[in-house]
């Protein structure tokens, strides 16, 4: 409980504080351990990967990663990257003006619209997969990456609208007013005054969209086959193959997760802002 007062005062440097620090480190390492183990296993030979006593010392090899590329992971990575990138751009293009409009004058209708957006997230995706499948078939968009892009855009749009709205609300009204008194046009105000203020929020929103799109599985597995399949679909191959390939599987899982992990690590601050939606303050 010393955590609470720690912020404020000099009291935290006690023996109890040291113990808590050790505990925090142990828990942090515990949460990270499965990821560490995944990465380590990816550098093992298969025979080192399943031993009765888990093997920590081994001769590292890049063989498993080479095998994953030989299995043809590249097109999957390409599809994932394309779907993630394009859908994120579309979300930002649609959500930013919408959030701007919603933050300008909060009235009863604003709340209804906001409620509508978030309620689309409550629609379980499994409930609409049948008509989506039928529609994709009718439009010859099965196994087409643009189908995924449309769905990822609609999947992330509500969260993005909510997040962007809260970031717009942080723009101090006084600056905008001053600009308008000085005769700045709407576009100039947007471009030179509002945009710089919301830029970190924009980054946070984009990052969250990237994470959810890159990791998406349900649409990808049901609506793509070979041409447009993304990385999570590639990983499915490992539960259907007979025999155990722990090491190769770990290499593939590492490769699939790495881009988002690295991006998340680099942009931690934005991630936190994004997750707390800037709103609850």
């Amino acid at each position: 409980m010393s955590a609470i007062t720690a912020q404020g005062g000099p009291r935290q440097r006690s023996a109890g504080g040291g113990l808590l620090t050790v505990a925090t480190w142990i828990i942090g390492l515990g949460f990270f351990f499965p990821v560490l183990w995944m990465v380590l296993t990816g550098f093992k030979q298969e025979r080192d990967a399943y031993t009765d006593v888990p093997r920590v010392v081994f001769a590292p090899t890049l063989q498993q990663f080479a095998n994953v590329f030989e299995r043809g992971v590249l097109p999957y990575l390409g599809n994932s990257a394309f779907a993630t990138l394009v859908s994120t751009i579309l979300v930002v293009l649609l959500a930013t003006p919408a959030a701007y409009a919603l933050s300008m004058r909060p009235v009863k209708k604003t709340q209804d619209v906001l409620f509508f957006f978030i309620s689309t997230k409550m629609l379980p995706v499994a409930a609409v997969i049948v008509p989506l499948y039928v529609a994709a078939q009718a439009l010859s968009m099965l196994d087409n990456v643009w189908m995924l892009i449309i769905l990822y855009t609609s999947m992330n749009l509500p969260i993005a609208v909510w997040m962007m709205r809260s970031f717009f609300q942080e723009v101090p009204g006084a600056i905008v007013e001053a600009a308008s008194v000085d005769g700045a046009s709407l576009w100039r105000t947007l471009w030179q005054i509002i945009l710089p203020v919301i830029a970190p929020g924009l980054a946070a929103t984009a990052l969250i969209c990237v994470i959810f799109s890159w990791n998406e599985f349900f649409f990808a597995v049901n609506l793509t086959a070979s041409n447009a399949a993304t990385v999570p679909v590639f990983l499915v191959g490992f539960i259907t193959t007979k025999g155990q390939y722990f090491a190769q599987l770990s290499a593939a899982a590492t490769l699939a997760s790495l881009p988002v992990i690295v991006a998340g690590w680099i942009a931690q601050k934005q991630l936190v802002r994004g997750l707390s939606m800037g709103a609850v303050k």
């Binding site: 955590a3 990967a49 997750l275």
Partner: protein
């Protein structure tokens, strides 16, 4: 918040006054909203209307020409279906279990991280990583390297306690799935609560300590109420995502053994893509949507109320 944003538009509205300019101003306000709104309506609402329509049809994809209107018969079949009730119960157990445990752990971890200590940034980085790992990869990871009865780390660690060859995924699939999901979602909850803790005003806390409040008193009467909205937001968002969990169940247990670990999304998928029964899958979908909306509306009302109190004061 309300007052500052109202000011933004006030100067533009003032000089106008006439009807036409009022209308123009109205469109300038609503116009930017329309693309997103139209897009969301088309992509999410039309398929749902189609689901409603399909749910009144007897339609099996593998029996061509079998399609006909059957009214509400599919709904009757859904409610009479034991597997549906089992899947609904599993959905509730998985969602409530995961969100509750992840939130409690998240609060604990956030409190631990909200104090200055050596390597705090590193520990936070380590802790958020499970949230960033691709869920499909995470599920495979737990299934193979962690929960494998013979080679898994979990049994190796628990070996001395007599768990030598316990088959986690076949003997207690729900527990295993919830464990993997908690691992994945705790960081999310922790980050949210941490954001809440760090937005507390230091002055209030200091004042409390000057007034002689104990740490526990301060926590209960100041910190917890302040955290409430963060906790509510975490529970709401966590529940929305966890109730839709498909990847973890698909990868770890395929809903099995039998249907013992199938949740509603997974069961729906089985019905639609393995059973090809479009009508019944659609009826099932409608029932799921209605259930979700009822629960979520209640949760959201709560959230909006707390947003408003702050926003307008």
């Amino acid at each position: 918040m309300t007052t500052t944003t109202a000011n933004v538009t006030a100067p533009q509205a003032a000089p106008g006054g006439s009807r036409a300019s009022e209308r123009r101003e109205g469109w300038m306000r609503r116009g930017p909203l329309l693309p997103a709104l139209v897009f969301a309506i088309i992509v999410t609402q039309l398929p749902f209307l189609a689901t409603l329509y399909y749910s009144t049809q007897s339609w099996n994809l593998v029996r061509p020409g079998s399609r006909q209107f059957v009214g509400l018969a599919n709904y009757g079949a859904v409610f009479a279906d034991r597997t549906f009730r089992e899947a609904a119960l599993n959905s509730i157990l998985i969602t409530v279990g995961c969100v509750l445990v992840a939130m409690l752990l998240g609060i604990g971890l956030a409190l631990l991280l909200d104090r200055p200590f050596r390597g705090r940034g590193i520990v936070r980085t380590l802790l958020i990583t499970p949230f960033l790992v691709m869920p499909v990869a995470g599920a495979l990871l737990w299934k193979t390297t962690m929960f494998d009865p013979i080679f898994g780390i979990v049994n190796f660690v628990l070996g001395p306690l007599g768990f030598g060859d316990f088959a986690w995924l076949t003997s207690s699939p729900l527990f295993s799935i919830v464990a993997a999901l908690v691992w994945q979602w705790t960081p999310f909850m922790m980050l949210l609560v941490l954001a809440g803790l760090q937005s507390q005003s230091g002055e209030v806390l200091e004042a409390a300590s000057v007034d002689g409040a104990s740490r526990w008193q301060t926590f209960v009467s100041i910190t917890l109420p302040h955290l409430r909205r963060y906790i509510e937001l975490g529970v709401l968002l966590g529940a929305i995502y966890v109730v839709n969990t498909f990847d973890t169940i698909y990868m770890m247990a395929q809903g099995g053994p039998g249907t013992s670990s199938a949740n509603l999304p997974f069961y729906l998928y089985q019905r639609a893509f393995l059973g090809f029964d479009v009508g019944q899958a659609a009826a099932l979908g409608v029932v799921v949507v209605i259930g979700t909306i009822i629960v979520a509306t209640a949760a959201l009302r709560l959230l909006f109320r707390s947003f408003n109190v702050e926003g307008q004061s």
